[in-house]
Amino acid sequence: MTGYTWLDTGIMIFNYFILFFALSVMISYLILAAISVVALKSYLQKNRLVNYEALLSLPDSPSISLIAPAYNEGRTIQENVQSLLAINYNNFDVIVVNDGSKDDSIPVLIEAFKLIQTDINYYPVIPTKNVKAIYKSLNPAFSKLIVVDKENGGKADALNTGINVSKNPYIVCIDVDCIMDKEVLLKLVKPFMEQSETRVIASGGVVRIANSCVIKAGKLIKVNAPENMLARIQVMEYLRAFILGRMAWSKLNGLLLISGAFGMFDREIVVACGGYNTKTVGEDMELVVRMRRYMLDRKLEYAVQYIPDPLCWTEAPESYSILRKQRSRWTRGTMETLWIHRKMLLNPKYKQLGMLSFPYWLVYEYLAPIIEFTGLLITLLFICLNILNWYYFLLFIFLVYSFAVMFSTLGMYAEESTFKRYTTFKDLRKLTVASILEPIIFHPFTVYAALRGNWEKFKGNKGWGDMTRTGFNSNKK
């Protein structure tokens, strides 16, 4: 080859490593998909016969606080809060935490819901930034609503404030601009009501993409595949991740993450763990890992439940710049969580979490983009040294590409076999095109965004970035 033994050995190791890594990724995806399919089938069979309305018969059904942090949401906050208040459940309150917004969020809320400042004392069981005022409504129709105005401290700090204000045993932490299914609380609370010896500490569900869907007065009327190609590709990505991935991890009791857009938690355990970590941008993942660790350290039986129903709809980035900020934040969040809990790695004390989920997440979620980029650099080196076998190289690329497309079609088939939210042939065609283009125009960008996230972390960037959203009112049919 090159004539240098050490270089030739290095190249050989690299070749086999790349091949092994690629094959292990594919095999792991297939195994997770197989487990997901079986678990999903079982869930759907049982769920078909569930009467969620029965829960409303229980006058002492579990009390829940819906905590919605808000920052500069003045344009849509009234509609969003109205939508939350209309959720079908008999025992909940809505705590909107205004995190030092610079716009007119508070005046809008005061006007819309006839709020007055109360003399409710604020007892920060979890330390937070200062709370300026707590409001409640004069109108009995909005008696479930509590609005907290506080100094800016970030999403995690706002959530902690809501947790402090809540008096209920269960909390649901959501993004205020997400569209919730009207049965979201009924479905989230069911695992908590079925528990016996095992304590359910968290339940979470699927986040779906609402771009191009028909939304009126905060309600999802019709689901459409997005017009924007980037958003469409993210639909495929979310379908694979949620239907073919997380379901399996939940079945294996190794789910590390409940989406920050919505998840339900046992408040007592959250408070015992110290609430959300304000020093990380991946506060949702970090909290779940910490709660699990808390239970395992004390040898307490627990469960984290995953609800595969599409209960929460959110707006996905439609531009590469916003997408890049989102993905680099996710990378930083993953890094921070893995680093904070590094003691769990391959530690038998933490069972599936330490022996399976943590290593998997470290290698296949965090390191994968770095490995890919390293592979790209080495390939460029081969080209420069004129030792690249283009035939094999292209064959290998084609193998990976065809697997990616196949896995996406499996995701589409899984969606069609389960929730069938994309009901027209036109939507199925759109998603097929997205599956074909994704490995070419989307995946390389996510690798770049992940690398950028690593770079930003080393530079000390701690922020969220400006996540400009267009809002659901601009969606067309």
Binding site: K46, I387, Y413, E416
Partner: protein
């Protein structure tokens, strides 16, 4: 070597073959799933249309029978889909009407032979079929199904057990609860909410010998009895609750009893 020029032709040939075969297999699997997705969608649309057509035909026949006819209607077909749709329509109408109309629907369910479809499902090995059958039979008040339901309450599947218990309560009233108070059936909060819902829907009367339910060995049963007492406004004295406290180990049940005691104190002070 994979990516590097090398001179080992035979190994390379096998590798190339292997790669091409893998790519072709993966490609065909992708086409397969894609095709299956579109076919599934087309079949679903076809089934929905057939269901809608049958539903509109059945609705007309059922309304005609309920309000005007003196003889049982005749149906042209007996397919499983048709039987399902008819039974579902009968149940929906049964929930929305009372008195003679309900009775006519129950009569149609039995004399039209649809009850046999449900009874057959009680012996199915599929637990979903068992649950559907129990719901059909208990909603439509077919009391002769009691022996079938009593068999199903002893199966391993907890969902079927719960559904059978609810079915028995619907058909025979809450006095039958006494028979199960020392059973091993665990009534978690979810199960209890379903039973309460069934009691509300069927407008059942409070059980006689209410207090004997508190003698249960099954602590989840006692929680349920407390909830029933709340629902029927059955008075429980402080003395009774104090006695319960001494017997109970479950922290959850103790919390429930404390709650009741606090409510009692509040009521007394008011």
């Amino acid at each position: 070597m994979l990516l590097v020029l090398d001179t080992y032709q035979n190994d390379n040939h096998n590798l190339v073959q292997g790669l091409w075969i893998s790519i072709c297999c993966i490609f065909f699997v992708a086409i397969f799933f894609l095709g299956l997705t579109f076919i599934k969608r087309a079949l679903k649309i076809k089934k929905e249309r057939a269901k809608q057509r049958i539903e509109s035909e059945v609705e007309v026949i059922l309304f005609e029978y309920m309000f005007n006819a003196t003889v049982l209607p005749e149906f042209n077909t007996n397919s499983p889909l048709f039987q399902k749709v008819v039974i579902k329509s009968i149940k929906n109408l049964h929930q929305n009407y009372t008195g003679i109309y309900q009775e006519r629907l129950e009569h149609l369910y039995v004399s039209g032979g649809f009850v046999n479809y449900s009874l057959k499902k009680t012996t199915s090995k599929k637990w979903i079929a068992n649950v559907e059958a129990i719901r059909d039979l208990s909603t439509l008040n077919y009391k002769k199904a009691m022996p079938h339901l009593e068999k199903l309450i002893h199966v391993k599947n907890e969902l079927v057990q719960l559904e059978a218990l609810i079915g028995i309560i619907r058909l025979s009233g809450l006095d039958r609860l006494q028979m199960f108070k020392n059973s091993s059936i665990q009534l978690n909060d979810w199960a209890q909410s379903n039973i309460l819902y069934a009691i509300k829907k069927a407008n059942l009367k409070q059980p006689s010998d209410f207090e004997t339910l508190f003698d249960s060995n099954n602590q989840t049963f006692i929680i349920f009895a407390l909830r029933l007492a709340d629902y029927f406004h059955f008075p429980i004295s402080k003395k009774q609750l104090d006695v319960l406290k001494t017997k109970i180990k479950s922290p959850k049940l103790l919390a429930e009893i404390e709650n009741k005691l606090n409510n009692l104190h509040q009521n007394e002070s008011e």
